[in-house]
Symmetry: C2
Subunit: 219 residues, 2 copies
């Protein structure tokens, strides 16, 4: 049995993980810059995104090359298909980090709204889901992946709560509407980061078990 | 040369197109319900989304089956990889239609803000991009696909304009903040529909030419 595919898959996983590390870093710079009021961190987000986009192309090319040259089967084939999808999700998480940096920079044009509501908590949750979804991928750990999927509800609830609080704030202080709107958009971006981490976790479960759990399906 | 793959690819394309038709219909029901003030159309969006999700799983399974049994090469391989990605985009466009229906239903709990600003125009643009990206896919027409990609800027500009108008509206009439916010979120959802149509168009260019034009790249 030809296992030259193993070294190809190992290199692919390493590259995807490096990409995941950049995505985490981009989210950290964007949300950290907001929380600390340090706008210079946003420039880093844009630099990192360029690297993410380059890796995005490379991973796609590597997958195509493996499919064309190795005719992978079963779990190897599922892994490559999952990598193609995870690659897309990571690239879009990079886009979300850029959106967050943009909205945060807009927000910081005025003195801050004092509490930032629960955005730091939501950012930490989205980041931990990102990290865990990638750890689950490396370990092909469907239990950890399932844990990520279950945390998505928490992100959604947090977003709804943040929306309600900021809406009340807007109504009570219309001069701050634009700022509150920027925070609402940031919460929305973080929700999407959580959605992408959930997609990755679902792909890990597919690699591990061959089961497609999306849309609440049993197979 | 074994061309049993041709019939498999033809069936796959037909299924993907049928899915695209449902996505278009879902966007039409969601935005049409908003424009006409007919909330009953939103129930249809949820019904259609169930079908989209079912097709989403089937298309993924079909792609995996073709890859495992046919060892496709060159353009056939690129087509299947592109179908996997387009499938993801279509499924998420279905999610956006559901989000639009949700925000539109929230919006319609109060008497409408009179002009709906440019949302109907943005909805029509997003829908036409969806249709054209799928037409480009069927015809493997990279010129039409390029046209879709170029229209994405128009969608973004329209969204920015809608944001500015609604922000001004919120500040002048704080009682309507929640409604205006729902329209802002709908504009954001439509922007995402346009983004997904653009992704599809980029995949068509990849099928046709083997070139990856994403991130402004030349190959």
């Amino acid at each position: 049995m030809d296992r030259t595919i193993d070294s190809g898959l190992a290199r692919l996983k390493t590259k995807l993980l490096s990409m995941g590390g950049y995505v985490e870093k981009a989210i950290e710079e964007a949300t950290g810059g907001l929380v600390e009021g340090r706008m210079e961190r946003f420039a880093r987000v844009h630099e990192i995104e360029i690297t993410i986009n380059q890796l995005h192309k490379e991973v796609d090319e590597d997958c195509l090359h493996l499919l064309a040259t190795q005719s992978p089967m079963a779990k190897d084939l599922r892994t490559i298909i999952a990598v193609i999808k995870i690659n897309t999700d990571l690239e879009r998480m990079g886009d979300q980090a850029v959106n967050i940096a943009y909205n945060a920079a807009e927000y910081m044009r005025e003195p801050p709204i004092k509490p930032l509501v629960d955005i730091p908590r939501m950012a930490e949750l989205a980041r931990s889901m990102t990290r865990d979804s990638l750890d689950a991928f490396v370990q092909v750990n469907s239990e950890l992946a399932g844990d990520v999927v279950s945390r998505d509800d928490e992100v959604d609830q947090l977003k709804n709560q943040i929306f309600r609080e900021l809406l009340t704030y807007m109504i009570s202080d219309p001069k701050r509407i634009e700022q509150a709107l920027n925070l609402i958009l940031i919460a929305r971006n973080l929700e999407r980061v959580g959605d992408h981490a959930t997609n990755i976790a679902e792909d890990v479960i597919f690699i591990a078990t061959g089961k497609d759990i999306r849309h609440g399906g049993a197979n």
